[in-house]
């Protein structure tokens, strides 16, 4: 598997660390309640198909949101997570 790092270009999967679904980017408010935090921390759509998840390119230290297919392993797009706040 190869992932296009927005910084470094196409790199072998072994340079990356996986984190989980990109819902991690949508952090609830401190007082959002048990249900919201449960959904954020634990519950997953876990699609057999296109998903978005988070990867870290260890060499350049970029966190990346990757759009990909969990059935075919096709990578559809990648973007730095920092762009959401920049």
């Amino acid at each position: 598997m190869r992932i296009p790092c927005p910084c470094c270009g196409s790199r072998d999967r072994r340079e990356f660390t996986y984190y989980g679904a990109s819902v991690f980017l949508d952090r609830p408010a401190e007082d959002a309640g048990l249900e919201a935090w449960d959904a954020y921390l634990h519950l997953r759509d876990n699609p057999a198909g296109v998903t978005r998840d988070l990867w870290y390119h260890d060499p350049c230290q970029s966190w990346i949101e990757v759009e990909r297919d969990t059935v075919t392993h096709a990578i559809l797009s990648t973007a730095p997570v920092a762009r959401r706040r920049a």
Partner: protein, 417 residues
């Protein structure tokens, strides 16, 4: 037909013409008391124990492909009861006891081999953690022995005791741990359930779950609608999709775990050995292949196949621990799809829909759990109350934080368990 050595002998004399099918191939009936979605190890054992322990007969197991086509046939065949947290501890202990009588229970030789399992440790800190585990195993009534370096060397002298990267300090030995022939477990339960009247329906994919007024009423399948009073989702690898049919999101992410087997070799590894630093575990099958595995590929996936980084990592770990296997050749690798839960422990529970049950989140632990998982889900479905040894396998434990069973201590990141 009952199996025995005598029957093998007489059938052999008669050209093996008289063997009858191990299970029937029934068409689905329109109505069952209980429908189990998923004809893997857990689904088949659930059906078996519903019939065997609770006298229920009007049961169907619906399998989208062939019986035992999922993880029960894609694992490294290890059977053990060496968990240390309450919940897991009693459950896997119960499961191991069921394993110990399984051949005679099912009249099917699943080749359960209690050859002993050694978990190696490589530092004082790891020894302390394994000591805690071993004491938990003893407190549960199971067996555990703490070996020092020489004790390990006496049992498995071929390890590389000279390597200094992660030197072997000792091991936690679990004599009753071992292996079993994985396919045979599915087939044995299938045959056993079939003999008790359960309908095993292959090539029958569930496409919808019928719910009326908060109560399950049946399922839609590729072979027509089937009514049922109770439905259980026992579909590791597809749990998210099936649960979605009932409007549920599960605390589960699906991941690939690869496993490997070498060409056949004369006996050389007599135990199950686990190398914690390298996430490598190995045993030798009765046919002679070295069967081994490592970590997840670590990304969410439904493709039952892996990639090279983990393949290489596992082989490098093997060469670190036991370089005598360098000239064994990897024959085949395959991947199973794991339901990874946020604490690495399973879920056997009711759901928000009356009559709908869920069995998921087995992480790495599914194969050894097959007997007890079926036993406990059958108990829950038949009696309405959780079986005592699975009482902690609650779906809501993540929301409340009560009774988490995080054996790895890595927290709510699905792939780290």
């Amino acid at each position: 037909m009952r199996y025995s050595g005598f029957r093998v002998f007489t059938q052999g004399l008669g050209g093996n013409k008289g063997w009858t099918p191990a299970w029937r191939r029934p068409d689905p009936k329109p109505d069952y008391d209980i429908v189990i979605i998923g004809g893997g190890g857990h689904g088949l054992s659930t059906a078996y124990y519903l019939a065997r322990n609770h006298g229920l007969r009007n049961i169907a197991v619906l399998e989208k492909g062939y019986l035992g086509g999922g993880n029960v046939g894609r694992n490294t065949t290890i059977v053990r009861a060496n968990y240390f947290l309450p919940g897991n501890s009693e459950f896997y202990s119960h499961s191991l006891k069921l394993w110990e009588g399984l051949e005679r229970e099912l009249n099917y030789n699943v080749m359960h081999s209690q050859r002993g399992l050694i978990n190696l440790f490589h530092s004082d800190g790891q020894r302390d953690a394994f000591a805690r585990r071993g004491n938990a195993m003893l407190a549960q009534g199971d067996d555990a022995v703490l070996l020092d370096r020489d004790g390990v060397r006496r049992m498995v002298p071929y390890l590389d005791f000279e390597q200094t990267r992660f030197p072997i300090y000792g091991g936690l030995y679990h004599p009753r741990g071992g292996t079993a022939r994985h396919d045979a477990v599915a087939w044995g339960y299938a045959r056993g359930a079939d003999r008790l009247g359960v309908d095993l329906i292959q090539n029958c994919e569930v496409t919808g779950i019928d719910i009326q007024n908060g109560r399950v009423t049946g399922v839609q399948t590729t072979r027509g609608a089937i009514r049922a009073r109770k439905v259980a989702m026992v579909v590791a690898g597809r749990s998210g999709q099936v649960a979605a049919m009932a409007g549920m999101r599960l605390p589960v992410e699906s991941h690939i775990l690869q496993a490997f087997v070498t060409e056949g070799l004369k006996p050389v590894i007599d135990h199950v050995i686990s190398f914690g630093m390298g996430h490598f575990y190995i045993s030798q099958s009765d046919k002679g292949g070295l069967v081994f595995g490592g970590d997840l590929d670590f990304y969410a996936s439904y493709a039952a196949r892996g990639n090279l980084p983990m393949v290489e990592h596992v082989m490098e770990a093997g060469m670190t621990l036991m370089p005598m296997i360098g000239r064994a050749r990897l024959l085949r690798s395959w991947g199973g799809i794991m339901d990874m839960s946020p604490d690495g422990s399973p879920i056997i529970d009711t759901t928000h829909v009356d009559g709908l049950y869920v069995n998921t989140g087995w992480n790495y632990g599914g194969f050894k759990a097959v007997p007890a998982s079926g036993w406990c889900l059958a108990h829950l479905m038949a009696t309405g109350t959780p079986h005592p040894v699975a009482a902690r396998f609650r779906l809501d434990r993540f929301r409340t934080g009560r009774g988490l069973m995080d054996e790895e201590g890595t927290g709510a990141q699905h792939n780290l368990h």
